[in-house]
């Protein structure tokens, strides 16, 4: 009976300790990675390949998602704005929404699945197959070799992918407005320019940088802390994606509150 009463407290205590332990390990990992940045001879050769894997290879899926997001936004905006509100606000809605919210967040979530899972699975496999231990045994800095180029590649390439996605999304919305909504180009562009501020683009870029760091950092963290065999790799991959998505959504709200 007494044990039954203690069980909830034990659960809370375990969660707290697990959270603190995770935070401590994350701090150790990323502070170590930051310290490893000075080992440029280790990570620089791997930076461009990682940029290609994380950024360039992610462009098609990002553009695909953005294209259909733009189309849906345009159609739904016209459906919503039927009546007293002029139709050129479709351009406003598509532009603002794509730049401020859907472009960065959707791209971030998509890349969390693609890039975060990829990194986590790769590093998790290396961990369970003791390749990481081998690097440490050879006095090769695993953080400089594995973490730094991936995180830097994510930080550098996410904004590029997001900016391309935003552009394609707006173009898709524009095209949809012309073809399906009987709007003219001048109407759509008028709405698009109506509330445009250059700061919006900076806002999207800043968010994308943080999303890139989160997605790649989450993949590296859970990959390098994988335990067990293939099952552990799968679990760490899942955990990396889920945590990255949650942090992206939280960061989205944070940046909106701080920067807008």
């Amino acid at each position: 009976m007494f044990e039954l009463l203690l069980r909830p407290f034990a659960a809370v205590g375990n969660l707290t300790l697990a959270g603190l332990g995770t935070m401590g390990r994350a701090w150790t990992l990323f502070s170590g990675a930051a310290a490893s940045v000075r080992n440029t001879d280790i990570w620089t050769p791997h930076l461009v390949p990682q940029m290609a894997r994380i950024g360039v290879a992610s462009v098609p899926i990002a553009l695909f998602i953005a294209t259909f997001t733009g189309i849906v936004m345009s159609l739904q905006a016209s459906y919503t704005l039927t009546g007293a509100i002029p139709l050129y606000f479709v351009g406003t809605l598509v532009g603002k929404t794509m730049i401020l919210e859907l472009g960065p967040v959707l791209t971030g979530l998509i890349l969390a699945g693609r890039v975060g899972a990829n990194i986590s699975a790769e590093l998790g496999t290396m961990r369970v197959t003791e390749q990481v231990d081998a690097l440490e045994t050879l006095a090769y800095d695993p953080l400089a070799y594995l973490v730094v180029p991936r995180v830097l590649a994510g930080v550098l390439m996410f904004p590029i992918v997001v900016l391309l996605a935003i552009s394609i999304g707006i173009l898709a919305g524009w095209f949809t407005a012309l073809q399906l909504l009987e709007m003219s180009s001048s109407e759509f562009v008028k709405g698009l320019r109506l509330y445009f501020a250059p700061w919006d683009v900076w806002f999207a870029a800043i968010k994308s940088v943080s999303f890139g760091a989160v997605v790649t950092g989450s993949g590296c963290f859970y990959g390098l802390h994988t335990e067990g065999g293939a099952e552990g790799v799968g679990a760490s991959t899942t955990r990396a994606v889920v945590v990255a998505c949650m942090i992206i959504v939280c960061l989205d709200a944070f940046w909106a509150a701080v920067l807008l």
């Binding site: 390949p49 532009g95 552009s167 683009v201």
Partner: protein, 329 residues
């Protein structure tokens, strides 16, 4: 393979940055960025934001570059970029107003001689156009919102103030109002009766006045018929003759009055003489005074008078004894 990967990464990075930069510039200025800088100052800019359109006679000629409150706080300075070929009117002003009902604002360059209102702010600086901002729909809604808030506050206060005691007091007031209402109805009834009496009197007077009016009308009709008859000329002739007689009588009266005036003068002279006589009579030293006052003197005078009367009788009887006539002497 490595080279190809580098090219791909470089291409994507350059493409992404180019899209961001060129897209931002295009969305902001539409590649029609004006080269001429124009400034205006206004007390307020409403909902104007950087990037808003600048129009002249309805045509977009530029965009708002920046908006800043002056350090003194007396005005807001708006920087604009407009097409260089545009000729600004000499008496130009900038009107900041909503472009539509949906919140977007614009800056419109206009000739103030053609558009008198509203009052533009003439900022004392060279090259700064006078500016003015119109109130927009959002201000009206904000005002309505404030009114609604005030009404809410009032209703809350009424709710707080309306206690059971207030209700009882209100009931008492309503009862008093009922009593007052009864009194008022009674007074009104009395007044209405008085008014009815007064109305009867007025009706009677009106009937009398009507009778009088009818009598007057009859008299006037008679008078009218009299005036229109043949006897009028005779009446005027008689009246003329009467006037002539009256004039003669007046002349006679005038002469009579002259005679009377002369008689009065004579009477006046007689009275003066009589006054002299009376004065002499009143004088005790005079002859008449002594005659009246002294019996002996009176008797003497009476005796002398008798003798004088006898003398006169003797003269009448024997005039030759006393008087002698000679024609040639």
């Amino acid at each position: 393979m490595e080279r190809k990967r580098e090219v791909m990464v470089g291409f994507v990075v350059v493409l992404g940055l180019a899209v961001a930069v060129v897209g931002s510039m295009w969305l902001r200025d539409g590649f029609n960025r004006g080269q001429t800088r124009l400034q205006t100052a206004a007390t307020s800019v409403g909902a104007l934001v950087p990037g808003a359109l600048v129009k002249f006679r309805g045509v977009t000629v530029g965009r708002v570059e920046s908006i800043a409150v002056l350090p003194s706080g007396e005005a807001v300075m708006v920087d604009m970029r407009i097409r260089p070929e545009l000729v600004i009117p000499a008496n130009a002003g900038v009107l900041l107003a909503p472009e539509s009902m949906f919140g977007e604002w614009q800056a419109e360059i206009l000739d103030r001689t053609e558009f008198g209102l509203p009052p533009f702010l003439d900022y004392p600086q060279e090259g700064v156009l006078p500016g003015a901002a119109l109130p927009d729909f959002s201000r009206l809604t904000a005002t309505f919102d404030q009114i609604a808030r005030n009404l809410t506050t009032i209703s809350d206060r009424v709710e707080v103030a309306f206690t059971e005691e207030t209700a009882l007091n209100l009931k008492g007031v309503i009862d008093n109002m009922s009593v007052v209402s009864d009194l008022l109805s009674e007074i009104i009834e009395q007044q209405s009766q008085r008014f009815e009496t007064l109305a009867d009197g007025v009706d009677e007077s009106a009937q009398e006045l009507g009778d009088a009016a009818r009598a007057a009308r009859l008299s006037f009709e008679r008078f009218d018929s009299l005036l229109t008859g043949a006897g009028v000329e005779q009446m005027f002739a008689d009246a003329g003759e009467s006037l002539s007689n009256l004039r003669n009588i007046t002349g006679d009266v005038g002469s009579t009055m002259t005679d009377l005036r002369e008689a009065a003068q004579r009477v006046d002279a007689t009275f003066e003489r009589m006054e002299t006589v009376l004065t002499a009579l009143e004088d005790p030293e005079g002859s008449l005074g002594r005659l009246l006052g002294d019996p002996a003197f009176a008797e003497g005078a009476l005796g002398a008078l008798n003798e004088f009367r006898g003398l006169l009788a003797d003269i009448q009887r024997n005039p030759g004894r006393y008087l002698r006539f000679s024609v040639f002497e």
